[in-house]
Structure formats: C-alpha cells, structure tokens
C-alpha cells in the first residue's frame, strides 16, 4: 500500500510503541496491552507447552516478516474470497446484521434497527470499547481467554487489532443469524482480531464468522482470539469458518464459557491456512450448562491444521459433546489433541469427545490424541478416535454406477461429514461447508 507511513515490521518494543501510538482507545485498554506486552516478552524466553505444540512444526514461521495491521485499508470487504457467498455490505440475505474487517480495520458494520432499539450491540471492538466500555470491560480477556495463558494469548492481548463484538441483553432473542467477516488483503499483514460475544441471561443468538483472504498468494498472519460468554439459560450458536488462503499462518485462543443451564453450540470449519493451531476451550461453569463442539476440517496440499481442545467441567450436571471430522489429502496433516477435564465439584458430568479422520491419499497424516482428567467420582466420560482411508472398492462401486472418480470421492467425503451436518441446524452453514468441500475437491473449477 502506497498511502501508509513506513511500518515497523515484527513485534518488538519499537513496533509495539509505534502501534500503541496509533490507537485511539481508553486508558485501561492501553494498560491491558502494556501488561500483556510484558507477558509476551517474558514468554519469548520460554518454550511453548510441548504437550500442545510438539507435533506442530513452526520452523518455517518467521514473525518478524509480518507487521501488525489495524492502521488503514483501502480494500472493500467484497474483494474477499468468501464461501458464505454474500458480502456484508447489506443486511439482506437473511442476516440480522453484518460486520466486516479487512487488515484489522472495520470496513462495514450494520445491525437491524429493531435490534439496536432492544439494546443489542454488534460492531467493531475498537469503537464499542469507546462507546460501551462499561459493558465490555468486565468480560474482555478476564473470563474466557486471559492474556497470560501462553505466548500466543499474550501476543494477541498486546497487539489485537479489532474484531467483532456481539452483546445481547437479558432475554433478547435474535432469530436471524449475524455475520462477521475477517479479511486479509495486504501482504505480510498480521490480523489480530478479537471476537467477543456476550449473551446475558436468557438471550439467544447465532453468529457466523468467516476468515478469508483477498488473494491466494499473499502471505498473512492471524493471531486471534474468540471469547464466547454464554449467560444463564442463554443459547448461543457460533460458527467460525477458517478460510484463509494457504499462505496464512493462523494462531488462536478460542474459549466459550457457559453459565447455569446455558447452551453453546460451536461449529468450527477448518479449510484454509498454511498452518493453523487453535487452542479451543469450553468451560461448563454453571450447573446444567451444555457445550457442543462440531469440527469439520478438510486439509489438502501441505497444510497443517492443529486443534488443541479442552472441555472443562466445573459444575455438576454439565454436558459436553465434541465431534471433529477431518478429511485429509495430498501431504496434509491434521492434529487433534483433546482433553475432558472434570473438576471435583462437577458430579454427574456427561462428557464426550470423538475425532474421525478420512485419509484420501497415502501421504497425508492424522494424529488423534484423546484424553481424560477426572477428579469427580460420579461421571460418564467417553472418547473415541478413528482413522480410515477411502476404500478403493467404494470408489469402484460408485464409478460402476456412472459417477466420475471426483464425484465418487465427493460423495464419500460428503457422506463422511454427514453425521456432523445433521447436527448443524443452520442451513447456510451446511451449504457453505458443502461448498468448501467442492472447492477443495476441485469441482467446478
């Protein structure tokens, strides 16, 4: 971009000061950044948690080649290669609101007037911290994702660029989904978006979020965070479709926290990126809380997708149900390391985790490592993992019925994902994931 001032690359002290100087934000926000930057610098002297990172090869990653976004952009959201198909410059197409960010800068923000009137907040984190800091401050990086977890969380907390906020007041029910787009357009830019969703007691909402790139060739970096705070009896459906180009590094801490009798249905689509590592946690904090995680991933070429998931039961009668389904091809690699933790207090926990992988080529590799840590004595926790190759006889059978090899593969992959599609109530998401599969299989190109 020719219009911007010279930027400092990397994430050292100089870059941090320069970044901070461009921010127009409340003092407490800058203070949080400074404290987090301190944590980040300290963390650089320590290795990342080997249990979480040992299978993730970061040797080719050089943070200093990137510079933090959030300054300016000239790229409209419509340039992003999205899968959801609609760009967020309108509230049409069945969405109650839409927000878009490009290179860490909000470029578009809409919310249906009737929802504004009900006190719903939906828009850019930077702006809403200025106008509604009192509402957001108690939740921002204090409950779900704290800066001090590790290097990635501290890095994000110091350098976050913006992100989508959804706040739904008590007992307000939003029927139509909301849409959020996070885009990268300028080469070597770091997106540090922070998604913050707060549902007060009895509230209901659905948020679909997609990450996308403007080109297939520009290198990008995402150091992000997602916080989903689901109040008592509240019900949140959140979908994040990670659809960066294959030159983008994706690191994220994502956590949902569910209070008494609340419910979170969280769907993860992992399609893009060169390498992605997501630290995903679901905290069942209140009695009767319920968390469901559905993961659909399709890795091809030399992609690496790594998921480190934790289901933490902290109260009695809580339920967690996690299912990741991974399809791999070429030399791709998918790593899933899952853990169900049950605190002593969380009696009558019902915890489940499962990871199934379907391998389409001889050189791809899937690692599934489930785990349980249980301190209560009256619980039901189960886990499972399967990995299988596409059977040559299945392909032959489909072809003998007139289907091309691709169509046969498509049918088998769709069938593999079917169990998970059945769990996803939002039709647009099912269709989008299905389209993502077609793109990956090279259909219609």
């Amino acid at each position: 971009m020719t219009t911007s001032a010279a930027t400092t690359t990397g994430f050292g002290a100089e870059a941090f000061q320069a970044f901070l100087a461009t921010r127009n934000e409340p003092g407490w926000v800058s203070d949080l950044r400074r404290a987090s930057f301190g944590l980040y610098q300290e963390s650089l002297g320590r290795p990342l948690n080997p249990e979480e990172w040992k299978r993730v090869d970061l040797r080719a990653f050089q943070a200093n080649r990137f510079s933090v976004g959030g300054r300016a952009t000239t790229t409209p959201a419509t340039r992003m290669g999205t899968l959801l198909g609609n760009h967020p410059t309108t509230c049409e197409a069945g969405f109650a609101g839409a927000v878009a960010h490009v290179d860490g800068v909000v470029v578009d923000s809409h919310l249906a007037a009737e929802l504004t009137a009900k006190g719903v907040l939906f828009g850019d984190l930077n702006e809403l911290l200025r106008t509604h800091g009192d509402i957001l401050k108690p939740h921002l990086m204090t409950r779900a994702v704290k800066p001090g977890v590790d290097r990635m969380s501290a890095w994000h907390a110091a350098f976050w660029t913006g992100g989508t906020v959804l706040y739904v007041p008590r007992n307000v029910v939003i029927d139509q989904p909301l849409y959020s787009l996070i885009g990268l357009a300028t080469p070597q830019t770091m997106d540090g978006s922070h998604t913050l969703v707060i549902l007060e007691e009895g509230a209901q909402a659905t948020l679909l979020e997609e990450t996308a790139s403007a080109t297939t060739t520009d290198a990008g970096l995402h150091v992000g965070s997602v916080e989903l705070l689901v109040g008592k009896r509240a019900n949140l459906r959140y979908v994040q479709l990670q659809n960066w180009n294959q030159q983008t590094w994706h690191f994220a801490h994502q956590a949902g926290l569910v209070e008494q009798d609340g419910s979170l249905q969280w769907t993860v689509g992992g399609i893009g990126s060169r390498l992605a590592h997501i630290h995903q946690e679901v905290f069942l904090d209140g009695k009767g809380a319920r968390g469901e995680v559905n993961g659909v991933t399709f890795a091809t070429d030399r992609q690496t997708l790594s998921y480190y998931t934790q289901q933490t039961h902290r109260s009695p009668n809580t339920t967690s149900d996690l299912l990741y389904k991974d399809v791999l091809r070429d030399e791709a690699r998918v790593i899933w390391r899952g853990m169900i933790r049950v605190d002593q207090a969380a009696q009558k926990t019902d915890g489940y985790q499962r990871n199934d992988s379907l391998l389409l080529s001889p050189d791809c590799r899937a690692d599934s490592i489930p785990g349980l840590e249980i301190e209560a004595d009256d619980v039901r926790c189960t886990h499972g993992a399967t990995a299988g190759r596409v059977d040559a006889d299945q392909i032959f059978y489909c072809m003998a019925r007139g289907m091309s090899r691709y169509e046969a593969m498509h049918m088998i992959v769709e069938g593999f994902f079917h169990g998970i599609y059945d769990r996803i109530a939002v039709e647009a998401v099912r269709q989008t994931l299905s389209r993502a599969v077609e793109v990956k299989l090279g259909i219609g190109q």
Partner: protein
Amino acid sequence: MSSVLKIENLWVSVEGRAILKGVSLDVKQGEIHALMGPNGSGKSTLAYALMGHPKYEITDGRVEIDGVELNELEPDARARLGLFLAFQYPVTIPGVKVADFLRHAVTNVRNPNRKEGEDLMPMRDFRKELKGRMEELDMDTDFARRYLNEGFSGGEKKRMEILQLAMLRPKFAVLDETDSGLDSDAVRFVSQSLARLTGPDMALIIITHHDRLLEFNKPQHTHVLLAGRIVETGDAALARELHDHGYAGVRSRHPDAAAEEKEALEQNALVGANK
C-alpha cells in the same frame, strides 16, 4: 438396432497371475446368458474385468459395446455405455443416502455427457420413479433414506442391487452370484423381479452355481468356465445338468483344463501357505 457386447479372446490377470485365458462371448441385447463354473474358474474375474475394476488387468483381447472398445475406459464410462454389474458383495457407503446415491447414478447414466456439478434429475420425477420401483420390488420406501448398504442384511443388499438395476435400466447387466447367501424364497423373489425388469432392451449375464435364479429367466445360452476358459456352451438344459450333477462331467470331458485348474489350485494353496 439391438446392441451387442462383444468379448474377444479376453486375457485378464490379477496381481500378475493370469486368471482368464482367452474368453470369447457375444451377448445381444435381450438375451439371457448363464455363466457357470466351479470356484476359481474366473467367473467373478470376468465380471470385474468387464466393469473395469483397476485390480483386474486386461493383458490381451478386447471388450466392446457396438464397436466402442471398453478396455481403457473408466468404470463410469462403461456404466454410461449401458453396462451394469450387480455386485456379489455390495460395499457400504456410510453417510450416503440410497436416494442421493441413486439420483446421481441415474442422472449420469441417462445423460452420459453430464459433468459433475451439472443439474441432477428433477427431485419430483426421481422420487416418483424410485417409489414406484421400490413398490414393485416389495421394498419398504424407508430404504431410500437409509445409508447405502449400512446395516443391511445380505438379502437387503442383494435387493438393493436389483433396485439399482431397475432404476438404471442397463443394456447389459452382469449378475455376480446374486443368489448367494439368499434363502430359496428370496432367490425366487429376485428371479421373478428380474424377469419383470428384463425384456428386449436388456441382456442378462447371470453368474451362478445354481439354476434357481434361472427359474424365471431361462437362458438361451449357458457357458461353462473352467480354468479361465469357456469350455462348453449349451442351452438351459446344460445349466440344469450342472446344477444337478456338478462339474465332474465337465472336468472329464476337458481333462487339459481340469489339470490346469488343479495346478492353479495347488499354486494358490502354496501362495497362501507362504503368506
């Protein structure tokens, strides 16, 4: 004009071992052929090789439909030319509903030039047709919503093969031991169903050990495979004789082939022992 499936001096190898050694056979649309022979004689090999299974390598000879050579064609291209194989062991495809699978199959076979992603047969028409065929075959229409062959009994799987045949209406249908694993009532039912489906537009090549499947589908031609060759061809009476008396007579009439068969069996046992 009636179509012809022509098999000329077909040699087929599996993992480098010759199984078929020069099979020739002409099948005209509307005809019924029974293909019989002891285990290991190459019946299923012929079925798979015709359909184009990648493990079955044609090393010599040719297969053609109305002059179009199939040797190098992918299985889907063969299906689109009107060839069908009812599998002895149909595979399970988890998560794929019978109706979705069949809608793709039917659309492709009826529009041989269709590319993936192009429109499927209209849902209404398809549903109506499928329902009608399922009723004819006395199948519960719930089957359409089940995942293909998942949790199906042996009989249900075979019936599913016949349903596919009914929907795809091929010119040439090869039935690979469709009667195996079925009780006699089920075989009788399948035989009756087949008889209703066939006619002047469809030829059947029925691979079987028994003559029950032939009850309602009387073959004009019966061929006996032994050690990878067709050693005898007759009519329905030959099928009955083989069913009643086995292959001892055939072996004694063709001592060379019988010796080859014995040798191949011994070799097989040796290979098995070395594994």
